[in-house]
């Protein structure tokens, strides 16, 4: 990527206007534009007389300001996906749906809970990625045989727990409610809830804030049934 002499100044074209910057500030200017959410293209050519190099940085588009939204959503690897609908059954937030051919797809990315990779944990084929996740294969790293074995094991554990992690949550909640109503001790109730949530969070690496934001057990049941019905309809 080396070459001849660089231009002395750079033209930045943005929003229909142009400005010149010193070529020495090129890197800082590009970083500043990217950090603000801009996409850009850099082109180098010669001017009309072909004696002077011309460098243009064209700002193509601008997305949301950094920090407004972390692009966190599932990305399906269709080379691995078997269309089993486990993700559709599992997600309580309506992220998944099916297309006209009943093929699973991510339909509502913005409904996904930031930093929650739970649906990828229930996928038996490790076909669901969150590119901004910290570790593989969820982040898109190659899926190894060991990864696949672990994913299948997780599903089996889920089955042992009653086949439905939400059912487990509901049962725990009901048992806790019954116990708390007898004990009438708010501190104990809170501690027990936190203990249950911590365990569930550990199982699926689900952020505590996502679990704390879960709706009531009745609403969870309603949404789980709705998701299961959608999955069933897609399978039939």
């Amino acid at each position: 990527m080396s070459g001849g002499p660089m231009s002395a100044s750079i033209t930045i074209e943005q929003d229909g206007s142009t400005r010149l910057i010193d070529a020495a500030d090129r890197f800082a200017a590009v970083v500043a534009l990217l950090e603000k959410g801009s996409s850009l293209s850099r082109t180098i050519g010669l001017n009309g007389s072909e004696t002077q190099q011309v460098e243009i940085i064209r700002v193509e588009s601008r997305s949301a300001e950094r920090g407004e939204w972390k692009p966190w959503f599932p990305v399906i690897d269709y080379a691995r996906c078997t269309n089993c609908m486990q993700c559709l059954s599992f997600c309580l937030f309506g992220v998944y749906g099916v297309d006209a051919e009943k093929k699973i797809q991510v339909q509502n990315q913005d409904k996904c809970k930031t930093n929650c990779p739970a649906c990828s944990r229930v996928c038996p084929e490790a076909a669901i990625m969150f590119p901004k996740y910290k570790s593989g294969p969820i982040n898109g790293d190659t899926v190894s045989a060991d990864d696949l074995r672990r994913e299948k094991m997780k599903v089996d554990i889920s089955s042992l727990l009653g086949g439905d992690v939400f059912q487990m949550l509901r049962d725990r909640s009901q048992r806790a409610q019954s116990r708390f109503s007898k004990e009438r001790d708010a501190d104990k109730a809170l501690k027990e809830r936190q203990k249950c949530l911590a365990k569930l969070a550990e199982m699926g690496d689900i952020p505590p804030e996502v679990l704390m934001a879960l709706p009531s057990p009745e609403e969870i049941q309603r949404r789980a049934e709705e998701a299961a019905a959608k999955a069933q309809a897609a399978r039939s």
Partner: protein
């Protein structure tokens, strides 16, 4: 002519800063034309039409993250990458020297 796309991963910073800065610095100091985006994930979520343009045409080298993730991010945006002529360089794993050397090489 092979095109170059660089992703800055602005919105999550999962790509090591030292690597992406070194790659971008070298690109800026070079005389090659390149395109840079703030965040490929964000573009995919918005189904940015630019992804279709990038997926079509001549061969392309993409400096971003895991190839499997990049491939399906384009697909999710309705802009599947072609089978041939695409090279995805992983700034999460490889160091800047390796990335830059691959970008300099002729093979798409």
């Amino acid at each position: 002519m092979t095109r170059i796309l660089y992703c800055h991963c602005t919105y999550a910073q999962v790509v090591p800063k030292a690597t992406k800065d070194a790659v971008l610095e070298k690109l800026c100091a070079s005389r090659v034309n390149f395109e840079a985006c703030a965040d490929l994930c964000e573009m995919s979520a918005r189904k940015d039409p630019a992804l279709k343009r990038l997926a079509q045409g001549n061969s392309i080298k993409i400096a971003a993250c895991y190839p499997r993730a990049v491939k399906w991010l384009f697909h999710a945006a309705g802009a599947p990458l072609p089978q041939d002529g695409v090279q995805i360089l992983n700034m999460r794993v490889d160091n800047a020297d390796t990335i830059c050397a691959t970008m300099e090489s002729d093979t798409p």
